[in-house]
């Protein structure tokens, strides 16, 4: 295999894996912060129990997110050194600011939160978890500022064959960032919410610690409803921005080969033949694509063939059509998962509001447990659509992915590292799921016997280290 393909595979694998943990961390830390706020405001012990229980899951998840994030930063220099040289001036700045502004904050205040239950006053301790949330939020903002530059390069000038920043303000008010950030953040909050509602639903079905899990479900389902609606609305704005700035990605995600009629119909499913550049077996909803693209039921959308001809005019000969099937189907998977989550969150909120949760039908509870997988599917599909749909560009219109690879790194070296990281990540994934399941089974009131015998409470211990074991 060639180094480019291998570097792509490695990037895809490590990024997708990393992005299982990041949104869950952001979502969980918000819920933990809300629970601890309720504890401080109302003084009820149950909220502290809840914050600690979900906090344990957050910490396991956070650890994996952090270590896989280190690899993300190193990877640019290791596998994509030409890319790093080309955009370091612009792309490096948000990365450095992310480290300075967000990583230090997260890591310091998470340390204070874990170890500080008895060292800090209630309010200061609460402030720590909110600062961790703000840290994760800022981290997402800066990393998406960097990503937005790749999707829609702004605030720079070409100089000596390199992109050099000349307008920092343009970089952080990039239209792409303004639509991408809310969509991703709502997606992250939704992830935390559906994990908490799913686990709570499971526990409620088993009638275990009902009080804790009913309250957890109620809080999370509201966050789930708000964020899933937020995802849908922000997604709509993102699609409209896409039509303007990356029409090829839009056309590919719709499987539109030739420019559509006016108004444009939305293709629900289709069998796509990239060789012949045509589709068969399409099911269409009239006018919907116009609405998605322009918020009105008129206007046609450009097809890939026309766009490819235009791009050839601008960028020279070549094939500018991304992998169409992948883009098309990942878009539909994302929308289907998102739509299902909105419906579930609505019904769940209704049940919580009418206090009918315990009488809820088993099918709904089972569906909520299954729904734990939905945000992960949607998040992954969303990123696949975004990143694959941008190909062959790594910086849209300026640098192709092929040109960004490290010239001095051999295929053998990349193959070795890909295998090593995949093996390490597989172990991490298995261990993490196993520890998650154990913690969930043990429940919020689990007191480990070894911990009682032990005079020293272990901050990394079974209980996550917050309990003082007094003798």
């Amino acid at each position: 295999m060639d180094p480019i393909m291998l570097s792509r595979i490695q990037y895809a694998l490590t990024t997708i894996f990393h992005f299982f943990f990041v949104p869950l961390s952001i979502g969980l830390v918000l819920l933990v912060a809300i629970m601890e706020t309720l504890y401080v405001a109302k003084g009820k012990e149950i909220y502290k129990t809840m914050a600690k229980f979900w906090g344990k899951l957050f910490l396991i998840n956070f650890a994996v997110g952090v270590v896989t994030g280190i690899l993300q930063e190193f990877q640019f220099g290791m596998n994509w050194s030409e890319y790093s040289r080309f955009v370091g001036d612009v792309f490096g700045a948000p990365l450095a600011i992310e480290a300075l502004l967000a990583f230090f904050m997260e890591s310091t205040f998470i340390g204070l939160w874990i170890f500080g239950w008895d060292r800090l006053s209630k309010k200061v301790h609460l402030a720590c978890i909110w600062l961790v949330f703000i840290g994760t939020f800022l981290s997402a903002l800066w990393i998406l500022a960097a990503n937005s530059f790749m999707q829609h390069p702004v605030g720079f000038a070409m100089n000596n064959g390199r992109a050099e920043m000349n307008d920092f303000f343009a970089l952080i008010t990039n239209g792409q960032l303004l639509v991408e950030f809310p969509h991703t953040i709502f997606g992250a909050l939704m992830t935390g919410a559906f994990v908490v509602t799913g686990i709570s639903a499971y526990k409620l079905m088993k009638k275990k610690d009902v009080e804790v899990f009913r309250r957890s479900f109620n809080i999370a389902v509201i966050v789930g409803l708000v964020s899933s609606l937020g995802v849908a609305f922000s997604g709509h704005f993102q699609a409209q921005y896409l039509v303007e700035t990356q029409p090829m990605k839009m056309a590919a995600s719709e499987g539109t080969w030739t420019t559509t009629e006016d108004p444009a119909p939305w293709t629900v499913i289709a069998s796509i033949d990239p060789e012949k550049q045509e589709n068969s077996g399409e099911i269409k909803i009239p006018g919907l694509l116009s609405y998605l693209s322009y918020s009105k039921f008129s206007g046609s959308v450009k097809g890939m063939k026309e766009l490819n001809a235009e791009y050839q005019q601008t960028y020279g000969p070549g094939d500018y059509i991304p992998p169409v099937r992948t883009t098309f189907w990942s878009f539909r998977v994302m929308i289907a998962a998102g739509g299902l989550m909105i419906l579930l969150a609505m019904y769940g909120t209704y049940l919580a509001w009418r206090k009918k949760l315990e009488a809820a039908k088993p099918w709904f509870m089972r569906l909520m447990v299954f729904a734990i997988s939905l945000p992960f599917i949607a998040n992954t599909a969303g990123w696949i659509m975004t990143e694959v749909g941008r190909q062959p560009w790594t910086v849209f219109g300026y640098m192709t992915t092929e040109a960004g690879v490290s010239p001095n790194v051999s295929a053998g070296m990349i193959l070795f590292s890909t295998i090593a990281f995949t093996a390490a990540y597989t172990v991490l994934g298995i261990v993490m799921v196993y520890l998650f399941v154990r913690k969930i089974k043990a429940g919020p009131y689990a007191v480990d016997k070894s911990e009682e015998e032990d005079e020293s409470a272990d901050p990394f211990g079974m209980d996550g280290g917050y309990s003082v074991v007094t003798k």
Partner: protein, 342 residues
Amino acid sequence: MGGIPLLLNELWFVLIAVLFIGFFFLEGFDFGVGMSTGLIAKTDRERRTLINSIGPFWDGNEVWLLTAGGAMFAAFPHWYATLFSGFYLPLVVVLLLLIGRGVAFEFRSKMKQQRWRKTWDVIILVASALLPFLFGVVFATLMKGLPIDDQMQMHAGFLDIVNPYTVVGGLSVTLLCLVHGLLFASLRTVGELRERALQMAQKLMVPLAVVLVLYAVLTYLMTDVFAVRGWALWIMAALGAAAFALAAYFIRQKREGWAFGMTGAVIAIAFASVFIGLFPRVMVSSLGSTFDLTVYNASSGPYSLKVMTIVACTLLPFVLGYQIWSYYIFRKRLNEQHHLEY
């Protein structure tokens, strides 16, 4: 006006140097504590106490490395690209070790089974020893020079990276971190563990002195940094020797706080010397000095540097402030005779 952007290149070199020095000062002691779990802890509880002593800090310490990497990417993209792609395989190992070590702290105590604990303890031990070794090797190669061509591409073979000079460099950093970490452990514990940590640190001072002197001599013989920087490096060497002597004195006096400060000073002086020796180069080419990467030809544009300078100057006081506050909150010794207070 013309002179100001040029100064920013130097400023960012200094900032990156400071970030690396901070990283080795801070993560240095948690590497050392990680290694000491295999040397001075006799029971699982003692290992736990040692790990607890770095519990609230190690993650934040590691961010110094991430920030150094990010700053390098932003301020000197060519340095970042040449270094990271050139050291591909060593960095794969570094990443695997960082990943393993990071989750080991979180995972080790989640289950009681002996085999589970042992596995993660071994990972903490091995990673804590190998990481400073690898960093030492890489920094030694930076001083010695690497085959970097006219395209700023580095094509290093095994012997370019692993040779007597770099191995001594690796050993120096590892031992230095170990002693530094033992002193941190003695500072954060009481009773027997504290005694053992101090004794072990005392025993290691002689071998440490030997490798450090050997490394300095080899540096004089095999690199041009003494020739290029002259008296500046001799002053650093003298300062380093003085700090080392004070560290030995304070260990004898059982004043571990001062001793810890002094080993920290040795680390800071050693890495400051590396950066002083390199400047204005960031990577020395063994194929000819015209191919050297310098703070001028490897840097971002002046606008980028200016923006980053403003951002860094605004944020750094806060970052330092809350990090110091966190050390202040967890300043008490861990007493494993009774119960740990958190």
